[in-house]
Symmetry: C2
Subunit: 366 residues, 2 copies
């Protein structure tokens, strides 16, 4: 793990600067568009404003319902691109877009938890655990619809119709990509041979495509498609390093910091990057991995410990972290391309904050 | 059952006129927007173009994957409104909208079957039965995204951006309404007391809102919001009579004609209109109904037969069919309001075809 010495330390202040604005807008959108108290409560529970009886919590008692990293990415990309254009950013223009991205992300999390059978997220029972899978499918569908509607709110902020249409079309394409990526993720669980390349293609669709959309859309609201292109590239690279780091944390993270049960990815034999790497190798450890992963049962606690050991021995974690680093480097190159003056990322504090996000994605411990 | 003597007989020719055009456009949209063969196959299976191994079937071997009634409704509303404006209809303008409505409807069916645990639709295993619930959630999400993207295709047909935005916003609102209606439907299963009015409010959101959107949007692409308003009202009334008739068929229909297991609605104690009516009554039969429906188990075959008898004795089927008729009358009044010359529905063959649809919704046996 190299580079980004300020990264992981500074991310709280970077994200924190936008958090309240995003939370307030999320709550305002849901309050305006959903007239049913139960549905508002269910969405509020997932987003952290409501308790498990779906009663609204006062701001002081709310829990973490995600970092809102994707919203911050959209806002920062807009600010950075506006700054490069020599104009003053007006966050009111981009906020509906950032909120739409968070609503969309929330929809995918609610469905993803059902699909993976996950019962904990952010240290709390998942929505499906609280209200059952049928209702959770439904709440996810409602969040998906709210995200689409929220893009339309850009019209009220003076954004021209063709840009609104382009972003709506892009959201649809992103959602199709995500569904295909999710299919590959589910299908990989049944496949004995998943190459590293196919794995990277899957997370590109499943995870990176939404961060790409967030960064591209934010920049697109400040500048034309050509100037927004490096931000799209940044979003993709950020998403890949973020997901690969997630895979590493899924193996080595503790429940206290990740909010998810430790070791679950291994016991469920999830095909994360370190595992895919180890399964594809020629060492005796890879043979043992393949025989453990060929059976149609979850791994025992002893086998989980053995897999950790095997992954260590073949250098799978180091390989994965190096891959995260590759995309970190790619992200920084994209930021340099976004800057008017080459290598002048530090001159634009928003580009600099995006760099902190990239550092965080690659190095984070939570 | 009164009125509409030509209705149910003629509906095949009304729907048949649009069917091939809609099927072709659906397939073209999916082929263009989805680059993954599995996902295309899964969507194709649900829509009737692929077998249960998701292999594309030649046109001659395809099965029924829905009547495409909602697409036909959108196309007919457009034609009727264009005709009233004294212009010639150009179906190329409205087709992307009609296809979007069918894609959206398909998304809701895939998720609805999962939520209800239904294993048969159109006489075939549901998508969730074929590929499992996790993947079916995913395919439904993909269809939802494709529907949104498909509305955006209206731009390529010369529709002005503000109309495209208005229809996209309306789709989002429709989807939120539908999710709330679906929540009420699921919640009613746990509630002992559901009034007829609450039931009608639920189906208004869950079923009628999409038919309203189809009819309104079709007309809106031909004329301004004021002239499209009677079509919205027609769609709502059509949706209500269609759903209430569905409830009646769910009790009295056979698997051969409905494509769903006979008696399933009763055995699962679904709160359909005849049941809601009977449960709310004061007769001894209603007491017996309440005691049968208070238990947390499915009904036996004997109890199913008893419930049929009880529903008959309290006149629940007749009550429901009368309710369908109320909305049929309302639908015809909306058509009269849509005609430039009062009571001149017959002078516009598209309005006349919409009347056949209304007759079908109220009287259909499949």
């Amino acid at each position: 793990v190299t580079a980004g010495v300020r990264g992981a330390r500074d991310v709280d202040s970077v994200l924190g600067a936008y958090r309240l604005m995003v939370e307030n807008d999320l709550e305002a959108v849901v309050a305006e568009a959903v007239d049913d108290a139960w549905m508002r409560g269910a969405i509020g529970y997932h987003l952290g404003w409501a308790d498990d009886a779906f009663r609204r919590l006062p701001p002081g008692e709310r829990v973490v319902g995600g970092k809102r990293m994707r919203a911050a990415l959209a806002l920062l990309a807009y600010e950075a691109a506006t700054h490069e254009e020599g104009r003053d950013p007006d966050l009111g223009v981009v906020l509906p877009f950032a909120t739409a991205v968070e609503l969309f992300h929330s929809f995918t999390l609610v469905h993803d938890d059902l699909q993976d059978g996950d019962r904990l997220r952010w240290g709390r029972p998942t929505l499906g655990t609280v209200c059952g899978p049928a209702e959770a499918i439904n709440v996810g569908d409602c969040l998906h619809a709210l995200a689409t509607g929220c893009i339309g709110r850009l019209r009220t902020r003076g954004v021209d119709p063709s840009t609104v249409d382009a972003l709506t079309a892009e959201l649809s394409r992103t959602a199709v990509e995500l569904a295909v990526g999710q299919h590959h993720d589910l299908a990989f669980e049944e496949e004995a041979h998943v190459s590293v390349d196919r794995y990277l293609g899957m997370i590109c669709r499943k995870t990176a495509t939404l961060l790409r959309f967030a960064a591209y859309g934010g920049a697109r609201l400040a500048a034309g498609p050509a100037k927004a292109a490096p931000y799209a590239e940044f979003g993709t690279a950020l998403g890949l390093s973020f997901q690969i780091r997630d895979d590493v944390l899924g193996i080595w993270g503790t429940e206290a910091v990740t909010g998810k049960p430790a070791g679950r990815d291994i016991r469920r034999k999830k095909k994360t990057l370190p595992v895919v790497f180890a399964l594809a190798g020629g060492a005796p450890q890879s043979d043992r991995m393949r025989s453990l992963y060929a059976r149609h049962i979850e791994l025992s606690a002893e086998e989980e410990a053995e897999v950790r050991q095997l992954l260590d021995e073949v250098g799978a974690i180091a390989f994965a972290q190096d891959q995260a680093q590759v995309h970190h480097t790619r992200a920084l190159a994209a930021l340099a391309a976004a800057a008017r003056v080459p290598d002048a990322v530090e001159a634009n504090r928003y580009l600099s904050d995006l760099r902190h996000l990239a550092d965080f994605a690659t190095e984070r411990r939570f």
